[in-house]
Symmetry: C2
Subunit: 244 residues, 2 copies
């Protein structure tokens, strides 16, 4: 048996997220079907993260065990021939026997994209949150810096998460502007349920002047979800990279 | 009568290009329908450029005359409500009486995007040319510089163009790399039919080692289309901006 590690890219628009469900099409279902078609065995796949409906991935990591004779380096091409156009295996390698995509993860990087302009954008439509009012980018940039470090992020957690502790360390939170597009690049040792989307929603509240940048530390320490901004929509979110 | 100038953004994937046709859906047809629905009169629209099937636009300029009482600043919202999701009016303004989107244009900027990696990319699929073999970026960058200036671009022109002269001035041709993506930003006083796509195809030939960067000046002066690279596919091309 080989322990196989895959890196997946997908456009999440058409899917009810990563995890298999009974009544909706998910990325895991499509991947499992492709693996079964190519290798002839039903896999038990584990992902680094369970992305929500509509969320994209540039580098989701998946691991599973298989007795296949197909050389691992041939797997991307073989699996991509069996996957729909909006899901692709970017790379495949054989991992150590004890590697597990979820439990071995040491950290993650996410990107959240905001398209800030009056008219909607056909080009960015599926890949960014469209905010029609103008945003104070400098205030948002200042606010993003306050998330870096080790904090209890209870105020930035949706109900329904299964985490034991709400303490996480954010390594970096950078805001980049290019034309109408604002990108948040955020990395840390882990993220609570909807945490990146609530941080993105809070940064937009700062950009709109509803929250002052200097209030962020206080909102974090309050642990009060109602003081943070709204949960930003899924189409702007990309799981960018998983660190092991 | 007002002379109205619109800036259009669209995702060209589903359209047979800008110009109205009998047997295919085009961007002009959808825009004309939206204008008629909002203003109650069939417009005669002129575009700065007739983009081909599958080509995108970030800033196509359109002009037309209309007797509408709708304030021009309300037009983007009104027209966007009548346009499909993959076409949007970004801005509208009243232009001088003699302004014409095509004949008043002084220059244009295009962007051509190449996604260079082994596996296909679900995120960039509709918005970049997927080249599976690795490319020598430095050689491509050197080659791109040779296009700048005033030249006869007969070697970079598809048959079927209606231009009288093949002499054009390229103001700038920059190549930018970010991860797997290579972007060509090229501006000039005008472009021949398929010229940007043939330049992009030639740059990829340079990246693959089929053409040397230093051969570009000779290929330009030869005027021989067969010496340049192949025409790059439409999905990588964006009409970025029109100068007046």
């Amino acid at each position: 048996m080989k322990n196989i590690k895959l890196i997946l890219e997908y456009k999440g628009t058409r899917y009810a997220g990563w995890q298999k469900q009974n009544n909706a099409v998910t990325v895991q279902q499509r991947l499992d079907e492709a693996i079964e078609k190519i290798m002839g065995e039903k896999p038990k796949t584990y992902a680094s993260s369970r992305t929500d409906a509509g969320v994209h991935a540039l580098g989701l990591c998946v691991s599973f065990r298989a007795g296949t004779r197909i050389p691992v380096e041939k797997l991307p091409l073989a699996l991509n021939s069996a996957l729909p156009d909006d899901i692709a295996v970017v790379s495949a390698q054989e991992a150590e026997a004890d590697f597990h995509a979820r439990f071995s993860a040491k950290g993650k990087k996410y990107i959240y994209r905001i398209c800030s302009r009056a008219s909607r954008s056909p080009i960015h439509r599926d890949f960014a949150w469209h905010v029609t009012r103008s945003l104070d980018f400098e205030a948002m940039k200042e606010a993003s810096g306050h998330f870096v470090g080790r904090h209890d992020f209870s105020a930035f957690k949706a109900t329904g998460g299964s985490e034991n502790s709400s303490v996480r360390t954010i390594y970096a939170a950078e805001l980049i502007k290019s034309g109408d597009l604002i990108e948040l690049h955020i990395s840390g040792d882990g993220f609570l349920y909807n945490m990146v989307r609530i941080i993105a929603g809070t940064l937009v509240y700062v950009g709109l002047g509803k929250i002052a940048a200097c209030e962020i530390p206080e909102i974090i320490s309050s642990g009060d979800r109602t003081r943070a901004g709204k949960t930003a929509p899924p189409e702007g979110l990309f799981l960018s990279e998983v660190y092991y």
